[in-house]
Symmetry: C3
Subunit: 343 residues, 3 copies
Amino acid sequence: MEFSAQQLADLLQGQVEGDGTLMVNKLSKIEEGSPGSVSFLANPLYTQYIYGTQASVVIVNADLQLTAPTMATLIRVASAEQAFAQLLEMYNKIKLNKTGISAQAFIAATATMGSHCYVGEYAVVSDGAKIGNNVKIYPQVFIGDNVVVDDNTTLFAGVKIYADCVLGKDCIVHSGTVIGSDGFRFAPQNEGNTKIPQIGNVIIEDDVELGANCAIDRATLGATILRKGVKFDNFVHIAHNVEVGERCYFAAHTVVAGSTKIGKNCMTSGQVGIVGHLTIADGTIVTAQSGISKSIAKSGEVMMGSPAFDAHKYRKAFIHFRNLDAIVQRLNELEKQVKNNNG
Amino acid sequence: MEFSAQQLADLLQGQVEGDGTLMVNKLSKIEEGSPGSVSFLANPLYTQYIYGTQASVVIVNADLQLTAPTMATLIRVASAEQAFAQLLEMYNKIKLNKTGISAQAFIAATATMGSHCYVGEYAVVSDGAKIGNNVKIYPQVFIGDNVVVDDNTTLFAGVKIYADCVLGKDCIVHSGTVIGSDGFRFAPQNEGNTKIPQIGNVIIEDDVELGANCAIDRATLGATILRKGVKFDNFVHIAHNVEVGERCYFAAHTVVAGSTKIGKNCMTSGQVGIVGHLTIADGTIVTAQSGISKSIAKSGEVMMGSPAFDAHKYRKAFIHFRNLDAIVQRLNELEKQVKNNNG
Amino acid sequence: MEFSAQQLADLLQGQVEGDGTLMVNKLSKIEEGSPGSVSFLANPLYTQYIYGTQASVVIVNADLQLTAPTMATLIRVASAEQAFAQLLEMYNKIKLNKTGISAQAFIAATATMGSHCYVGEYAVVSDGAKIGNNVKIYPQVFIGDNVVVDDNTTLFAGVKIYADCVLGKDCIVHSGTVIGSDGFRFAPQNEGNTKIPQIGNVIIEDDVELGANCAIDRATLGATILRKGVKFDNFVHIAHNVEVGERCYFAAHTVVAGSTKIGKNCMTSGQVGIVGHLTIADGTIVTAQSGISKSIAKSGEVMMGSPAFDAHKYRKAFIHFRNLDAIVQRLNELEKQVKNNNG
């Protein structure tokens, strides 16, 4: 994957300024550029870097005014930011463009595979599984019995999907993530076996991305559901029978307990917890390490604390908390004065 | 796995009301029933659903009184709840009844295998491992040197067990869980290599279930121990030399630091932390996101907060915390009044 | 791996007291000793155990004075603690001394392997990967395209490393850990595809140890970096473009958000969170479950709370928090008195 400055300029519909024959084979930030890399300058705060960057080629806005010569070859385009985003996208697609079925993969006779799939070494596609077109199954992935994976979905190395789960189109699941493990439901009051069988599944709609080492438990009965466009960071735990609404974004180590229903466009920061059997309104935002203990009916609330309440009120209370020692001293002083006055 | 209503009724010792030839092949909640599914009605609050459910067959209590006709075929039994639990159990057993040793599994010549085991594709059973009867080893599981796995235990796809660890009978370990990784012990004050070798193991007794993506570290010396009937949700972290007592239930993302001893029948909610070298009494309950920083001597305490104290007192203090701004305003007001009185 | 007491004594330059022909094949704590095990006594508080221990052999300090006979054979050495540490180290090296390339491993034709490597069953080394000397790659490890792994590094079963990442010498990575998964960066305001391509990599320097089930995300552009001597417990999450300084120690479930730069010798306890785009000074210590929300400029601070501030001040404030109910009652009382005084 090597391009000349001139080839890039043609691709991005830009003008070369300098040596069009310079070759580049990687992308870099302008402040970390090295020979052979192409970078970009869009933010005026970074303009200083263009004079010293080691990058071979820099993509700049057509109207950039230089105050000194540059070592790098420039490519002037209408929008440097958009042009670079286009390069990122291309680079990513080429890098991830794996194809072919490895001779060291196991595909059950009763599984069905779409066209143009990639199946890496030591991957397992079990009985009755249905794999769509252009699906990429990296090495050591496990796909259980009767699992459905729709078109253009990518499962990175080592993803594990239990029997009967369903994944939509254009999903991405990162390494170590487990889909369809049993919900954590027991009857501790019983003698002997306390396990409640978990025979539901997980349904993941289109355009969902799950980070590394997440776990999405299957439902007891029915389905645990992640709606269209949901995006999870790493280590997100979703319990049995949860439903996460469209285009929710959950940061790392977010935990949602059983049977909770979460609306659309909600966002959590890291290490947030949400207890079971709640209903959370659309657009709820939860700050880092907060714990939601009650249902939220009004859309767009910002919640903070454990247990959480309105973030604005929390921050006010927390300022007083930090100051509690001084507050108690004021109280001590007042008590003395009042006692003296009464004395 | 398809049954007629009559076959189910015979199995559950119930009476068919309606078309006994209707076929069902799945289980559903009554409010989510679809053609071909069997559901149940036990909770009177759900009685409304029986008139409209799409389920083909509904199991009901013998004494249920209908106020309108139903579309579904009914099966009347002594206890609809117990009958349905029996079906769940059966369904689960059939679904998980894998057998046979895959030709694509690796079993070391010095390992011993019991009878009626399942070993899936790309699983590894290393030198000197001892596997009991009816053990189910799903694809891509790793069993290290000299590991012992006793009868009827199930290891789902991708479980990793380091050398010398011991698992009891009737255990279930979900995908991505790691057993026997090194404890986190270092001597940071040393120059160069700071690692303290971790040569103990993990001992897991009978009837333990571990969720997905847990990690149970081996002991420095001796054993990290999970006693009989322990149940963990996903992402539980157990450090070196910890002992978890019988029938403890730990929710997702619970963390126990090194050498802590936990009594029987303790329960944690999500994201609980317990620091190292503590002793925790039987029956301790810890609320979500709380952090135990001291040993607990009295049984049955409920703990809350970080650091945690008695949950009843915590809730009281937290009400005042929420209200701190008003409390400080009252203090301001009093100071003014006392000053005026003195002035 | 069986040794006689005399062989051990020769190895440790000690003197046998008792039966030098006794054979041992494992290490134990003195209070948990069993026949066939060798233990040690260094801490005077444990002297009581030497008279009753079941261990066959106990290593003791040369100057230990006995007040009764022991059943165990003793080996007297200059320092019992150091001699035992030496045994631990030896035991660990022998246990982990795997060699050879499994016939059931997949090594791409364009990958390069150093000498004396171990590659276990169903491991994958992809195109263009460069593996150094004495590298141990356990079963079911995945090494992506162009990954570099330097000399003497150990990757335990099931580690997953995405394309283009770089690991230094003498590193240890435990099972289930994922290196190089995509950073969690999206543009939620966009219609349709909101993903920002993540084309950077992860660079891990020498002598780094990562616990089980960690996740280190690749950079958007450039590199996520773990400096020399970094040690992580299990479930640590490092987001895109983070830099962790030399010899930082992070306990289980620590979370660092995107683009934060952490200095040298920092330590976190369990479940700590650090938000994105911060700069954290050398030697910062963060207590369990705390959340760092602002950059820290001064070295060696101890931080506590969520959001965190100085730990000493936090503990003081928390004492008042626990006591808030009594404080509010004092305020109520004062208000009454002042009202009476004014009345």
